[in-house]
């Protein structure tokens, strides 16, 4: 019989050798809880992330755009489903079910990404979400492909493949606007002005928080927030600039000596309150929509359970 300490050591040896941990493997309680916290938030963000674009699904201005944005939002909901399935397995020993994981959203027990608390005010915003928000999400998710937790890393393979389609979908909308009429270009510039700060915040604080530190230790994550933000700026600043639109940060530049981007800090405090207390411009309304979707249709889920019992 292994001692507790030896069992933990064997687990860490596996992680340090780059092996993947599976749902049925023994894992330390801390590892399980960190995974639940991370993946639950990720899954819920995908589901709540459907709402800003959902508002533009009925208004997409061509048949092709209509089809594309429907498919895109459908993918997001699908990612939410895949990720919640991963959390369901992890949370089963804690007696948590899918119902709990969804209810946590409107009981304010789980957070979701700051960008999904923001308004989607125009068609340009809808395009920009696809291009730059999904672009930011890919940056983070691609680094998580190396995560030590196997089921998460595998689901992320599909998520990343689909997100890169979304990025192309968003880019295509943005390119049409950037090469369009003065009104369309104005709409695009206003979108970037509105979203820029929240895109920087998306990657989280500069400093390494205790939770992130533990996730790095267990190789649940492999890069820090700041490393991810820098990667994102590397990739997207030149792309944005090539469209002839202005990034609303006069301080933004690449510092060759320090070999990194210098930028004006987003209002950490404001965005952090938005995420922690649902104080964003659209937080309450969207959480309420999720509550309605779940509670108003409870009769449907209950009826299906009854129908299945009768069929047995």
């Amino acid at each position: 019989m292994l001692t507790e300490e030896a069992r933990f050591q064997a687990f860490m040896d596996r992680i340090n050798r780059g092996e993947k941990i599976e749902a049925t493997d023994w894992m330390p309680e801390e590892y399980r809880l960190l995974l639940i916290k991370l993946i639950h938030m990720h899954g819920v963000s995908e589901i709540m992330g459907a709402y800003p674009e959902k508002e533009w699904v009925p208004k997409a201005p061509t048949l092709k755009r209509k089809l594309a944005i429907m498919a895109k939002v459908q993918d997001e909901v699908g990612h939410g489903q895949l990720l919640l399935r991963v959390v369901e397995d992890l949370a089963a020993p804690l007696n948590k079910t899918r119902e709990d994981l969804i209810e946590d959203i409107y009981k304010n027990k789980v957070k979701f990404h700051n960008v999904f608390h923001m308004e989607a005010r125009s068609w340009a915003d809808a395009g920009l979400i696809g291009w730059l928000v999904d672009g930011a999400a890919i940056t983070i998710q691609a680094s998580l492909l190396q995560s030590s937790y196997g089921p998460y890393a595998r689901v992320l393979k599909r998520v990343c493949a689909e997100e890169s389609f979304h990025m192309k979908h968003g880019e295509s909308i943005i390119l049409a606007l950037a090469t369009g009429t003065p009104e369309q270009r104005k709409m695009l510039q206003e979108a970037l002005d509105y979203w820029w700060e929240s895109l920087l915040f998306f990657f989280g604080p500069r400093e390494i928080t205790p939770a992130v530190d533990r996730m790095l230790y267990y190789r649940i994550r492999v890069l820090t927030n700041e490393e991810l933000r820098q990667k994102y700026l590397d990739k997207y600043v030149p792309r944005i600039q090539s469209l002839g639109i202005k990034i609303p940060d006069p301080q933004l530049r690449f510092d060759r000596e320090k070999n990194c981007w210098v930028y004006t800090d987003p209002d950490w405090d404001r965005f952090s309150r938005m995420v922690h207390f649902n104080e964003g411009p659209k937080s309450r309304e969207r959480v309420e929509m999720r509550r309605q979707a779940h509670e108003d249709q409870r009769w449907v889920r209950e009826a299906l359970l009854r129908a299945r019992k009768q069929a047995v």
Partner: protein
């Protein structure tokens, strides 16, 4: 007679007019129901159902795009103009399809009623004299099979679950019933039959539809509301409710900012 392409159809103006008229009825049905389906995004009873409903919505709008493309080949405006900028009184969809989604029961019942009709209708032109249409019918029938399977499964399960679900399903059927008339109405039907654009009459299809629905209502333990009413308001002739006006306004909100712009 088989007509392989639009240019040949156009050389017979009477044929072309009947065909164009028919394609509008098909296109508008699919666009409007697909749009309504997409409003369920993020609001379905569970996430799995959400993903499924969205696939159906995409199929329907894809079919609308197919019909609008055929119309464009026959000399009508481009598909986006047809979808986004026609006023309500020139739309030919059935009234039932334009109404708001109400609750899940209403959406399921309406969709199943429509899917079974659409399937019969597709079969009626799967050997159409207009080849581009019959070719499309074969592809769409493959997709519609899954739509009706999905919706009949919901219908039977929710009905047979009893309790609140059964009450809501019966209420939905009662609410939908008076709106059914123009669904089965085919404008210029005689011409369409004469030209072999369709090969089954609406009366014969309606009879089959009633038989299928009766069977499903019974299987689900629900209540048959009696004879299907005749046409009251006729969407096929451009008579519509304010629901459609609002739908068109919403759908065209961005498009009409500048219809000349590329989006």
């Amino acid at each position: 007679m088989k007509i392989e392409q639009a240019s040949v159809a156009k050389s017979n103006p009477v044929y072309a007019e009947a065909l164009v008229n028919w394609l509008y009825q098909l296109a508008d049905d699919e666009l409007v129901i697909g749009h309504r389906d997409s409003e369920w995004l993020g609001m379905c009873p569970d996430i799995e159902g959400d993903v499924a409903f969205s696939s159906i919505a995409q199929d329907e709008v894809g079919h609308a795009n197919f019909y609008f493309t055929l119309l464009h080949e026959l000399g009508e405006k481009d598909p986006d103009a047809l979808a986004f900028s026609r006023p309500a009184n020139s739309r030919r969809n059935a009234l039932l399809l334009e109404h708001e989604n109400h609750d899940w029961a209403y959406s399921v019942v309406r969709h199943m009623f429509y899917d079974l009709w659409d399937e019969l209708r597709l079969k009626a032109f799967s050997d159409s004299s207009y080849f581009p249409l019959s070719r499309g019918a074969a592809r769409m029938l493959r997709e519609e099979y899954y739509h009706s399977l999905h919706m009949t499964t919901w219908f039977v399960q929710l009905g047979s679950a009893g309790g609140e679900a059964k009450e809501k399903m019966n209420a939905a059927i009662r609410k939908i019933w008076p709106d059914l008339g123009d669904l089965f109405y085919i404008d210029q039907e005689k011409m369409l039959l004469q030209f072999g654009i369709i090969q089954e009459s609406s009366a014969s299809m309606k009879e089959k539809w009633e038989e299928q629905i009766k069977g499903l209502v019974q299987k689900a333990g629900l209540t048959w509301p009696g004879p299907v009413p005749g046409v009251q308001m006729n969407g096929r002739l451009g008579e519509h409710s304010d629901d459609l006006k609002r739908l068109i306004e919403t759908m065209g909100e961005v498009y009409t900012l500048d219809p000349a712009a590329k989006w």
